[in-house]
């Protein structure tokens, strides 16, 4: 288990990168809407450039850092990584969102390259990134709600560990 100061620092970093990820995803959706709906060619090109920059330099680092600090925090506290369904589901969804993001970002770069060289009429046929970004943001909000409400439910492994080591039960043990 982490000592209190280390745990607090890890939690601060995890909150920063995970909530930052949600905020950046919201900004990305706004840019995706602008890129998809605007009739202004310069605005569309600018939106694609901003989406690529936010994607590679904010979303991707925040996603990777969220997975890393989340696993660290789970292993370093009494919640554990595989003891509660809400932790397990959060981990699965976060890893899935990160994987899709990493697989999708090269496409965003390619579209940005096309947008930067396309004429105004060609920009209209470029397509949009609203689907990915909106679904991604919704997924992050689901994960956020899970982490705030921490719905009940032991996993089979967590239940067995709790029976074997009742002193490690996070719901009944309080530290001095």
């Amino acid at each position: 288990m982490f000592p209190p100061r280390v745990r607090k620092a890890a939690l601060a970093v995890h909150l920063t990168v995970s909530v930052g990820w949600v905020g950046a995803a919201g900004a990305y959706v706004a840019l995706a809407v602008a890129a998809a709906r605007s009739d202004d060619a310069e605005l569309t090109r600018g939106a694609w450039s901003a989406m690529e920059l936010i994607g590679w330099y904010v979303l991707v680092p925040a996603a990777i850092a969220t997975v890393f600090t989340g696993v660290l925090l789970a292993l370093g506290t009494r919640w554990g990584l595989l003891r509660h369904y809400w932790v397990l589901v959060s981990l699965g969804l976060t890893v899935a969102a990160t994987a899709v993001l990493l697989l999708h970002m090269p496409d965003v770069s390619a579209l940005q390259a096309r947008a930067s060289r396309a004429s105004a009429s060609e920009l209209e046929t470029l397509g949009s990134d609203l689907g990915h970004s909106t679904l991604g943001l919704l997924l992050l909000l689901v994960i956020l709600v899970l982490n705030v409400y921490k719905p009940r439910g032991w996993t089979r492994r967590g239940w067995r560990l709790q029976q074997e080591q009742p002193d490690r039960d996070p719901s009944t043990t309080r530290r001095a």
């Binding site: 607090k8 925090l73 090269p106 009940r152 439910g153 530290r175």
Partner: protein, 81 residues
């Protein structure tokens, strides 16, 4: 929010009343209903996505735009200035 480093930090521990209630209500290892609801919602979303892909243009997935970040080769460039 606790700011003193001398006080116990319970911000990341399941030790407050809400967390205690949540975990105690979940006594037993049976799969809770919310997990089932979430799984059904996920399957529905996946079905919708698959339908959109099948009924759409069918072009999707990594690299669909021609090589990705470092590929440099994109489709329909011949008409570009």
């Amino acid at each position: 929010m606790t700011t003193s480093s001398d006080r116990p930090d319970r911000s990341s521990e399941p030790t407050d009343k809400a967390d205690t209630a949540a975990t105690q209500q979940g006594a037993g290892h049976e799969r809770p209903r919310w997990v089932l609801v979430l799984a059904v919602a996920a399957v529905l979303v996946l079905i919708v996505i698959v339908l959109v892909l099948v009924l759409g243009d069918g072009e999707h997935g990594p690299g669909r735009h021609g090589g990705g970040m470092h590929g440099g080769i994109v489709t329909n460039l011949s008409s570009l200035p």
